[in-house]
Every structure is written in structure tokens, then in C-alpha cells.
């Protein structure tokens, strides 16, 4: 028989205003097994915890029931208190009489009655609690960062700086991500490449960092501290260790008509190419869809001109297998496709472009060498219209567009408008906006400068229609302040397209068993207090894969994710959660129902020899739970048809005892 102590918390007036805490303590006192019951203003305070420790010693308590807030809030606190008092931490049960009782009830009598019932249920459960000890597992001291944009680079640099080896897996032939495509960065207008490329070089030169470019994660197994990952490194048909990046092949290749993805297909490169001058690794890559040699077996110009002998037409995809202690998702974003928005005529006119295309058009390394020229005729545009919120802030059930604010567009549009007016003062610049959102350090000042010093025309209203006509773009929109419909003949229209998570994020999340929201952004463990961790242990989030972010915010979050990874990797062993599933091997019939529902892959099967009552031996297939992988979700206990599966800490008989106590 347990000797149970019940401790009822007032939580100041949070609980005591709606629940008669004395009555709860009094009612609990008469329950079987309860030898001590009391109430106190703040159980979680030092004084409250000492009261618990004293009571354990004085009354030789073996189990504790704390009637207080949600276990999510203070279960860990009271488990520590129990351990300090010398009893097993898993002999503590929390009756949630705040979130599930006092906060949702107005009537004192009803609230008190419910609190008493919740206390009785917890007491009934503690009777069946057993001491549990968490298992330990080793930590592999190596991290994997998936995505080599500014987020992934920063996370990897910080982890490497702390002395841990880290691999960056990047799907493109070079790291750098979206930031490498940008021209200037707000709010300081320093050039993106100037601040990014040194970091790319740092990553390449850091002996703790290995860059696995042109590669994708194919398979993830294992659990926190012990992930096993399979990475496919795509054939680039160039030997990375031999290529010097001289670029001669990229000038001699006769196949000139390959759309240049880095310049958003606004110009072409050869079939063998280096994405951009500062690429890391600076190694050529052959596009097999265009290479004449790979398609027909006739050409071989690049191999002939390569003095290093780096070309290898027979190169195959390579599979890299590695163990990791922690994994960081840094898969980034893409602008949405704006073709669906017919009214903006993106697919009808070359002179309607997206903001990212605009970045390339003003970038000195872009298709126009930094001269702002209309894509249709190469003329200098004299009237430019920027349209904000294209596909952002749409209704949840809208056929196209996203419900969220993409966050970065207000600032980059102000930047674009300012840059145009600075370089080409003869150009009229209009910005159609719904709201200008500039909550960041020096952000609003920046936007005001665009208006006040650079004379950008900001118009409160939205563009309704764009019609290409006689080489002009007829822009029709509303000016809500002037209460007018505006008609502007523009030479160039720039659409601030909403951003969305990269398409690779969803399949990756499935591999990582990391949760996502309806927009395919990774979900954080807690929106405020654990913003860089996934709810799945050992998976961390860096950058825009978690939500729209600008560069300063991405870098902060990237470093925060690194700090969490370093914290994990600096441990030699990890204590698991002892509340995991356990199979009764005598009852298990090896049907696989549990393995089929397990979202974590924690269940395996083995053939075990059993000595039967008739003294014969029999080999039977039985389920085994890997306690380090199991997250204690309980799906298997429900699926098991023979009742062999049970969850420690939440055993079927414990749950039934709670239900009985509630229904009594």
C-alpha cells in the first residue's frame, strides 16, 4: 500500500479564486492511502517544495499528488522535488486543477467539485505507479546541417567553432542559397555577396566542416544522439578533388543554350558551368540534360581543354552514410509561382518580373551586369511599378496565395525603390501597398528615407489589373487615400511574390518525423520558449524553413539552433524518457500491428525461443521496443489486438483506475 501525500496549490488566486482549495485538501485526506494532505499558496516556490520534502520525511510518503497547474508547466519541477526528498521522480502525479479547471470555470462550487474529482483520479493512479529509471544512450559528436544557405552556413560555423565536426548537405552545386542571388541587403545597403562569400569561404576552410554539395538526404534512421543518415551525392561528372575551378571548360563548351537557374533563367550558361564566380566549392558541374557528350557520346570538348583532367563522364551518384548526434533543418524558401495571378500578366509580358528577378537585374554579376534594363527590349525603364503582397495575406480558403505575411517584401521593395531612384533619378517609382510593415531595427527609418529622401511614390491601395499594350504595361490600381482609380503606363512591373518553404522540406520532414504546419513550415517545439527546436528530439530548425524571416533574423536563429546543438553534443550520454512502450512477450503474437502504427520506427521483431508449459520449446516472433527511439505516444498500445503492449507510466490499469475514480 502506498503512503500518499496530497498537495493542493492555490497558484495565488489563479486556482484559489474559483476552487475551494481547503475543501479539495480535505476531500483528498479521506481517500484510501492518503496519509497527508495540505494546501499552500505557491507549491512551486522554494517554501512550497521544502514543505513537500518535509512531509515526505515526516510521514514516510511513497507517492505524491500535486494539484496544481498543467504538467507541461511544473511536472519536471515536482519530479526534481521528489528526487530531492529521496523518492522516485515517477511516483509523482499532477492533477491539473488550473488550465483544466479553475481557468475554465466561473462557478466556485462546480470548480471545486471538479478539482476534487481530478485529485481523486490522480490518487487512484499513484497507487499503481512504479519507480521508473530512464535508460541512457550515447551521443555521436557530429552534426548534420541540411541546407547551405546563410542559415545553414551560420549554424555550421557556430557548431564547428565549438569544436564539433559538422556536415552541410546542399542540393545545389554550391552553398550560398538565396542570399548569394541578392544584390544589396537592407537596412544598411551593403552588398550581399560581400558579406556572404567570406562566410562561405570560412565554411570551406574550417577543418570541422565538410561541405557535401549537389547532394540530398535520402534516408534518416535512429534517434536523438544516434541518427543514421544516407546521403546521395549526385554525379557532377567532374572530379571535385581535381578540378581547380579555372572555368576554361565553361567557356569552351559548345552547348550554350542552358537556362541559367542562378540568374532565374534570364540568361544562359553552357552545359558545363560554375553557378557563380564565388561558388563554394568552386568546381564545375555538367548538366546531363544538355551535355552532348552524355546524351550522344560525341563531343568531349571539356575533357580536352581541362588541363587538370577533372572531367569524368562515367561518374556515378555516390551514397554517403554517416552517424550524427543532431540534425538541423535549414532548407529555406522560394518565391511562389505568380503565373496563377492572371491579373498581373506575369506570363504575358517579360517586363513583369518578380522581386528576386529584379535582384539579379540590378546585380553587377547578373545577366545585365547590373544595368537595370527591361527584359523585353533591353531599354532603360522610366516608370517602374512595384506591387506588394502578391500572394501573401490571402484568405485561408483562397484558391491561390498564402494566408501569412511574407515579412520580407516591405523592406526589400523599399530597398529596390531606393536603389532605382539612387542610380536612375530620372525614373518614376510607384509602390502599391496594403500596409507597410517595418518592425525591425532601423527598418522604419529606412522606409521613410525611401519616401522622404528618394521620392518614391507610395500608394495605399492594390493593383487590380495589368495589361500589356504597345510595349507599355497599363497598370490599373486604386489609390485609397485620394479615393481615385489610378492608370499608370509603366515600363517595368515588379511583383513582390509571397515566399513558401522549399519543396524539399515536406519529404525531409517525413524522414525526420518532424512536424510541419499546413503551409509546410517546420513547427517549433514551443512558439515562444523553444523556437529553434522541433518537437522531435534531436532535430533543430534554422532560418526560413520555420517561418518567413529576413537575414538578420535568420542569422540570429541559426546561431540559436547551433547553441542548442552544441548543448546536445557536449553531453556524453542522454537520459531517455522512461515512459516508453513495453511488450509482454508472452502475450505478443508477432502480428506487426504495433510496428505499422509506430511513427518513430521504434519497434522491431525478433524470433525468440520459449519454453512452453509442456516443456517443449517453441520459436515465436515477438515485438521489441527500442526505448531510446520510443517517444511514448501510446499508438502501439491501442493498436495491439492481444493487449501485449503497454506504456510505462501510463499503463492500461492506471488509466482505468483514473477513469473509475472519475466515474465513481
Amino acid at each position: 500500500m502506498q503512503r500518499i501525500g496530497v498537495f493542493v496549490c492555490w497558484c495565488g488566486s489563479n486556482i484559489a479564486a474559483t476552487v475551494d482549495v481547503h475543501a479539495v485538501a480535505e476531500a483528498a485526506r479521506h481517500e484510501p492511502g492518503v496519509v497527508f494532505s495540505t494546501d499552500y499558496q505557491y507549491m512551486c516556490s522554494q517554501a512550497g517544495q521544502n514543505m513537500i520534502i518535509e512531509a515526505v520525511k515526516e510521514h514516510h510518503l511513497t507517492g505524491l499528488v500535486i494539484c496544481s497547474c498543467s504538467p507541461r508547466m511544473h511536472e519536471a519541477t515536482f519530479r526534481k522535488t521528489a528526487a530531492n526528498a529521496g523518492i522516485n521522480p515517477y511516483m509523482v502525479e499532477i492533477a491539473n486543477i488550473r488550465e483544466q479547471c479553475s481557468w475554465v470555470h466561473k462557478d466556485m462550487a462546480a470548480g471545486t467539485e471538479k478539482a476534487i474529482i481530478l485529485a481523486k483520479a490522480a490518487i487512484a493512479k499513484v497507487h499503481l505507479n512504479t519507480a521508473l529509471t530512464p535508460g541512457e544512450s550515447k551521443v555521436t559528436k557530429r552534426a548534420l546541417v541540411i541546407g547551405g544557405g546563410i542559415a545553414g552556413i551560420q549554424t555550421a560555423l557556430d557548431i564547428a567553432e565549438a569544436g564539433f565536426p559538422v556536415d552541410i548537405v546542399e542540393k545545389e552545386p554550391t552553398i550560398g542559397g538565396k542570399m548569394a542571388q541578392l544584390d544589396k541587403t537592407f537596412p544598411t545597403l551593403d552588398c550581399a555577396a560581400c558579406i556572404l562569400t567570406p562566410k562561405m569561404v570560412d565554411a570551406a576552410q574550417n577543418e570541422n566542416i565538410r561541405i557535401i554539395s549537389y547532394a540530398q538526404v535520402e534516408e534518416v534512421g535512429g534517434f536523438v544522439g544516434n541518427f543514421h543518415v544516407k546521403i546521395r551525392k549526385k554525379a557532377r561528372f567532374v572530379n571535385e578533388d581535381v578540378c581547380t575551378g579555372c572555368g576554361l571548360c565553361t567557356e569552351k563548351c559548345p552547348q550554350k543554350k542552358v537556362p541559367n537557374a542562378f540568374n532565374l533563367n534570364m540568361d544562359n550558361h553552357r552545359a558545363i558551368y560554375i553557378p557563380f564566380a564565388q561558388a563554394v566549392p568552386k568546381v564545375a558541374v555538367i548538366d546531363p540534360n544538355y551535355c552532348t557528350m552524355l546524351k550522344t557520346g560525341k563531343c568531349g570538348v571539356c575533357a580536352k581543354v581541362c588541363t587538370a583532367g577533372a572531367i569524368d563522364y562515367k561518374q556515378q551518384d555516390q551514397i554517403i552514410e554517416e552517424e550524427y548526434g543532431a540534425i538541423v533543418a535549414a532548407t529555406g524558401y522560394n518565391p511562389i509561382s505568380v503565373e496563377k495571378f492572371d491579373e498581373f500578366a506575369y506570363s504575358q509580358s517579360k517586363d513583369v518580373i518578380t522581386s528576386l528577378e529584379f535582384e539579379r537585374l540590378t546585380n553587377a554579376a547578373g545577366p545585365t551586369a547590373g544595368k537595370l534594363l527591361r527584359p523585353s527590349d533591353g531599354e532603360h525603364p522610366h516608370t517602374i511599378v512595384f506591387v506588394q503582397c502578391v500572394g501573401s495575406r490571402c484568405a485561408a480558403n483562397a484558391a491561390k496565395g498564402k494566408e501569412y505575411c511574407s515579412k520580407i517584401c516591405c523592406m526589400y521593395t523599399a530597398k529596390h525603390a531606393m536603389l532605382v531612384r539612387d542610380k536612375y533619378p530620372d525614373t518614376d517609382v510607384y509602390v502599391f501597398y496594403i500596409d507597410v510593415r517595418t518592425p525591425g531595427k532601423n527598418f522604419d527609418e529606412f522606409y521613410r528615407r525611401a519616401v522622404e529622401e528618394y521620392g518614391v511614390h507610395y500608394i495605399k491601395g492594390m493593383v487590380g489589373k495589368i495589361t500589356p499594350e504597345n510595349g507599355k504595361l497599363k497598370v490599373q490600381g486604386s489609390d485609397l487615400i485620394a479615393d481615385k482609380q489610378l492608370h499608370i503606363d509603366a515600363d517595368l512591373v515588379v511583383l513582390a511574390a509571397a515566399i513558401e518553404p522549399d519543396k524539399s522540406a515536406r519529404p525531409l520532414a517525413t524522414m525526420l518525423t518532424a512536424s510541419m504546419d499546413t503551409n509546410d513550415f517546420f513547427t517549433e517545439a514551443h512558439p515562444k520558449l523553444r523556437p529553434v527546436e522541433s518537437p522531435t528530439a534531436g532535430i533543430f530548425l534554422s532560418g526560413t524553413c520555420q517561418g518567413p524571416k529576413d537575414i538578420p533574423e535568420t542569422v540570429s536563429q541559426a546561431s540559436a539552433a547551433a547553441a542548442k546543438v552544441i548543448g546536445l553534443l557536449s553531453k556524453n550520454t542522454l537520459k531517455g524518457n522512461p515512459c516508453v512502450a513495453q511488450s509482454d512477450e508472452w502475450m505478443c503474437n508477432g502480428c506487426s500491428s504495433c510496428a505499422n502504427v509506430c511513427p518513430y520506427g521504434a519497434i522491431t521483431y525478433e524470433n525468440k525461443e520459449f519454453r512452453m508449459p509442456d516443456r517443449s520449446t517453441k520459436v515465436r516472433r515477438i515485438a521489441k521496443v527500442n526505448p531510446a527511439v520510443c517517444q511514448g505516444c501510446g499508438a502501439c498500445t491501442v493498436a495491439c489486438p492481444s493487449g501485449a503492449m503497454d506504456l510505462n507510466g501510463f499503463k492500461n490499469n492506471q488509466i482505468m483506475a483514473e477513469v473509475d475514480a472519475i466515474c465513481k
Partner: protein, 131 residues
């Protein structure tokens, strides 16, 4: 008394149109889109705002409700799914239903049907040319 009547008319407009003007985020895309903008005293985004604030007396008096072409461009392009044209249609119906009779009879409609035509446009036309 007058106020009560207006309030009840407003409720009727909301019920008939099925529009929730509170969904509007005041971006003005409807008015930026509207081909009949210059003909109107009140513009699509103002219709939505006036119904939201219950200021419908002036709307009911305005010629603007007959200037709407029922082209549904505002419905198609509104990012928040507010559907201003349906609101205007409801206001128009409220005015026209109690007087006169239909300009065309229901029997004539099938011959006029076009697959691409939103059904509501036909009904709108029916009310509109009736005066």
C-alpha cells in the same frame, strides 16, 4: 425607428449576399480592378465598408448600385474572398424586388445561358434592366 429599419435592412443585405464584410483587409484591389470605377459615386471597397458600418442609407439612394457591371472581377481577385459584387447585387435586389416586375421572364433565360457566364450575372442583369 428609422435607425432600426436601417439595421434590419443591413442584416438582410448580409443574409442575402452571404458576405462577411469583416473579412476585408482594406487593400483596395476590388476598386483597383473595377472597370466601372469612374462611373460610380461609391466604389467597391466603400460598399463593403459602408455595409460593415451600417451606413447603407446613402448606398440605397446612390446610382452606383446600378453602375456595377456584375463582371465579378472584384470577386475573382479579392485576396480575402470578400466578394463585393455579391454585396452590391444584394443591395440592388433589396431596392428592386419590392417594385415592378422582371424585365425578362424566366422562360427566356435558358436561351441566353452561356457556360462561361457566372449564373449570378444573369440574375443581376435581370434585376438591373428592369426599371
Amino acid at each position: 425607428m428609422e435607425q432600426n429599419k436601417m439595421a434590419s435592412l443591413n442584416t438582410q443585405i448580409l443574409r442575402m449576399s452571404g458576405v462577411n464584410p469583416r473579412k476585408c483587409m482594406r487593400c483596395g484591389k476590388c476598386s483597383g480592378t473595377c472597370p466601372a470605377y469612374d462611373e460610380m459615386e461609391y466604389h467597391p471597397h466603400q460598399f463593403v465598408h459602408m455595409v460593415e458600418t451600417g451606413d447603407i442609407a446613402s448606398l440605397l439612394q446612390s446610382e452606383s448600385i446600378y453602375k456595377c457591371l456584375s463582371c465579378f472581377a472584384c470577386v475573382e481577385r479579392c485576396p480575402r474572398g470578400v466578394e463585393p459584387a455579391k454585396l452590391i447585387e444584394a443591395i440592388r435586389s433589396l431596392k428592386t424586388r419590392p417594385v415592378g416586375q422582371n424585365h425578362i421572364t424566366p422562360d427566356e433565360i435558358p436561351a441566353l445561358l452561356d457556360e462561361d457566364l457566372p449564373q449570378q450575372a444573369i440574375v443581376s442583369a435581370l434585376r438591373k434592366y428592369m426599371k
